[in-house]
């Protein structure tokens, strides 16, 4: 074969027309498989990414973090703040059965059942009674007023109770897309729910989530047009993709944050002074520069995306990095230097591994002696759940409502209080805020809580990333959300 014909052959291959995408199915590439699809048990981002298309709650959160109606078309709240009357839409589950108020009750009961071990369980323990008052009406009575209930209901995905047993692998919901097929470690396919209650939606025929572990492959896949969307793109990949023909970069502020978590029930982080010293040793702006390439904001206990609630980091004295003062703090606390400790690291996320290495160096400068234990995701979650760690580096989901998020994460016995942190003063503050329906007064209470948590709480919050997504320029109608939900895929279309 001469050089010339060789070149022609290669050119012919490369010019071969890209095959026409199957009618209007959007192909997305994501880095990891979900750990399971049960929306009431699995809280991983990889799960929420898929489930946010299959399931809905009574309410929903829109991209501006406001509560909007979803499966409940409307509701009324009695003046005492205890009785909520919901009017449900005429909705069918993906298996064809019509949803009834009793289904909602069964869902709430399942989540509250300790045997389900749902991280959302504690959100609904304040419900005293539930009753179907008609074929489409549901009454929920609380034992005490709870301002965040409507926002919390958005997180409760309503599943078909007859599918409870197999939810992890065969989800049955009411959402815009139906589960079709899961080929482990390869792809998950969803197709359009033709009976979706919101007329005319969804507009796509289906979604296909390709599991593509290698970042470079996802990037080449979207520049070449194999994938139409990368729902999560890290900062360095966003910089590479910016300006590539045919690719558009979208961004929003993350509610989730990177953190160093401390086990408050054992040494060395059992002492609040040691936690404070760690906070003083960590240089957040260095991490933002080195790991996030500047595309993140150092933050306190609440995401800067929650504009009405979050305090600026300048309000937290321990955020002024000072390794010498940190070392002194450790000496004053009476611990022997260097303080030896092991941090478990969620190995499946590169950003977490990178942060862990920087944190290790920073802590070691201030009198700690840190070992990193980079773990596979399943093992990490297992240890995390069992509070089997001295400390860990990970990513944690925040929430659109401070009560819900603080309550489950930091209140004594909270569902995701894996830190075994217990602070009676904080518990009192949170209880008071929960019953306070005056927003200005609630804000004051949460300001105090943030100050209490920032320096000696069980978490050293590192940073809230700018979230990037990438889409082909023929994708229309999608908007990324701070919650990472892909809610807007139901309104997305593909132009020819």
């Amino acid at each position: 074969m001469s050089v010339r014909t060789g070149r022609l052959a290669v050119a012919a291959l490369i010019l071969a027309l890209p095959i026409a995408a199957r009618a209007q199915t959007l192909e997305l590439a994501t880095d990891q498989s979900p750990v399971g699809l049960d929306p009431q048990v699995a809280t991983a981002f990889s799960t929420a990414l898929i489930d946010s298309n299959i399931y809905e709650g009574l309410t929903a959160i829109d991209k501006d973090l406001r509560v909007i109606p979803a499966l409940a078309a409307s509701w009324t709240i009695a003046p005492d703040g205890l009785t909520y009357d919901f009017t449900l839409r005429d909705v069918k589950f993906h298996n064809g059965r019509a949803m009834t108020p009793d289904d909602i009750i069964k869902n709430i009961d399942r989540v509250r059942d300790p045997k389900t071990a749902s991280p959302y369980g504690s959100r609904f323990t304040g419900i005293k009674s539930m009753e179907a008052t008609g074929p489409h009406t549901l009454r929920v009575v609380l034992s005490a007023p709870a301002a965040p209930l409507l926002a919390q209901l958005a997180s409760l995905a309503i599943v078909a109770p007859e599918a409870f047993a197999e939810l992890g692998r065969k989800p049955v919901g009411t959402g815009p897309f139906r589960f079709q097929q899961w080929v482990p470690d390869t792809y998950i396919a969803l197709d359009r729910n033709p009976g979706y209650w919101d007329q005319g939606l969804p507009k796509l025929a289906g979604l296909k989530f390709d599991i593509v572990p290698e970042s470079a492959t996802r990037e080449l896949g979207i520049t070449g047009g194999t994938y139409q969307m990368l729902p999560v793109v890290d900062a360095s990949a966003a910089a590479t993709l910016q300006g590539k023909p045919g690719v558009r970069i979208l961004q929003t502020q993350d509610l989730a944050y990177s953190l160093v978590g401390f086990n408050a029930s054992r040494a060395p982080f059992g002492k609040p002074e040691v936690r404070e010293a760690a906070n003083m040793a960590i240089d957040r702006s260095q991490i933002v520069q080195a790991v996030y390439f500047g595309r993140a904001a150092p933050g306190g206990p609440l995401s800067p995306a929650l504009k009405e609630w979050a305090l600026p980091v300048s309000d937290f004295p321990c955020y002024a990095t000072d390794p010498a003062a940190a070392r002194k703090k450790l000496q004053d606390a009476g611990v022997t230097l260097p303080v030896k400790l092991t941090l478990n690291v969620l190995g499946s996320l590169q950003v977490v591994v990178d942060i862990a290495q920087v944190v290790q160096a920073q802590l070691n400068k201030a009198g700690f002696d840190v070992q990193l234990n980079v773990q596979e995701q399943g093992k990490f979650i297992q240890d995390w759940r069992a509070s089997n760690f001295e400390g860990f580096v990970s990513l944690n989901g925040g929430g659109p409502d401070p009560d819900d998020y603080f309550g489950r994460t930091f209140a004594t016995g909270g569902a995701t209080n894996v830190f075994k942190y217990s602070n009676p003063d904080l518990d009192k503050l949170l209880a008071a805020a929960r019953e306070e329906r005056d927003t200005a007064k609630r804000k004051q209470l949460y300001d105090q809580a943030q100050k209490m948590l920032a320096c000696t709480g069980p978490v050293a919050t590192i940073a809230y990333a700018t979230l990037f997504a990438a889409e082909r320029d023929n994708v229309q109608g999608f908007a990324p959300m701070p919650t990472r939900s892909l809610r807007y895929l139901r309104e997305t279309t593909l132009a020819k």
Partner: protein
């Protein structure tokens, strides 16, 4: 000769049996309970766990589990995948095509490039171009294929950003689209093999070209091309064929990494996924199959060897 082949066949069966026992034991020694993984970390109900363990046969003694499994395999029943409930053989059947295409194309590319490159290096040995090709080939041998894969990805992203080079389209659906998307993975998996094989060919050719019969051929006035390709190459192909068999196994194994890098839905990813999920029936069947392929390829190499070298027929 028949006796030699039968003896070889016996060895092969023994290897396959040994691997099946080892695989069976090894995956059961890996920490993590298959039933627990299936239920998900959060579901700790002991009753459900016991029911599932019973369904999967995990409550039986190891020997009974192995006996049961191998008995069914010998009757053509590889069991059902613990994860999807589909017959394991169907799951593998749906994926093996990708890996076979990758391996066969990789091997083809390797043969087509390695033989001329090796001959060229031998014919022009100690010249500048020999050294240049040898340096390239050493680089090729040392570079790991996953790193080469990433490099190719970045290269393609820079030089051919608008071309769909990622993804998997079945050959039967769209042959050209299929080939276009497999260029990079094949390049990544084949280049290290090309380098290794070219070095084998070069060494064998250098030896062959120094033989008396080559001098005789030249003395008879035969053209250099004919001397190289007809007289020397035929003898040099014997070590090449042996290496080729080993390399076929290497390619088949290397596809595990390459499929991961390029997100191809092949047997390699199926196996990695199965191991993560502790999907015992699938792991066992997939590894048994991979072993069988390796063993059969080596058997075929032995046959080819006999065809090339008349002396082997006497043995």
């Amino acid at each position: 000769m028949i006796r030699a082949l039968l003896a070889r066949l016996g060895e092969l069966l023994f290897v396959a049996f040994g691997v099946s026992v080892l695989t069976f034991l090894m995956i059961r020694l890996v920490p993590g309970d298959a039933a627990q993984v299936m239920l998900g970390a959060s579901d700790t109900s002991p009753e459900k766990l016991a029911v599932l363990r019973h369904q999967l046969g995990l409550d039986q003694p190891l020997v009974a589990q192995y006996g049961d499994w191998i008995w069914r395999v010998l009757h053509g029943d590889f069991g059902t995948s613990a994860w999807t409930g589909m017959p394991v053989i169907d799951e593998i059947g749906g994926r093996v095509g990708v890996t076979v295409e990758l391996t066969v194309l990789g091997l083809l590319v390797a043969v087509v490039l390695a033989i001329p490159a090796g001959c060229l290096m031998a014919a022009m040995r100690s010249s500048a171009s020999d050294y240049a090709v040898r340096i390239l080939s050493i680089a090729g041998v040392t570079v790991p294929s996953f790193w080469l894969g990433s490099l190719l990805l970045y290269g393609a992203g820079t030089f051919a950003p608008g071309v769909p080079l990622i993804g998997w389209v079945p050959f039967a659906d769209a042959p050209l689209a299929n080939l276009q998307r497999i260029i990079l993975p094949v390049a990544a998996i084949a280049l290290p093999v090309v380098a290794t094989l070219a070095r084998v060919v070069r060494a064998a050719m250098v030896e062959a070209l120094g033989q008396d019969y080559v001098r005789t051929a030249r003395a008879k006035g035969i053209g250099e091309a004919l001397v190289v390709f007809r007289h020397a190459l035929r003898n040099a192909l014997i070590p090449f064929t042996t290496s080729l068999g080993i390399m076929a196994g290497y390619l088949f194994g290397g596809s595990v990494v390459i499929e991961q890098v390029f997100a191809l839905p092949g047997l390699g990813r199926l196996m990695v996924g199965a191991i993560v999920e502790r999907n015992y029936p699938l792991i066992q069947a997939a590894i048994l199959l991979a072993t069988a392929v390796f063993v059969v390829v080596n058997f075929v190499v032995d046959l080819v060897y006999v065809a090339i070298d008349p002396r082997a027929r006497a043995a």
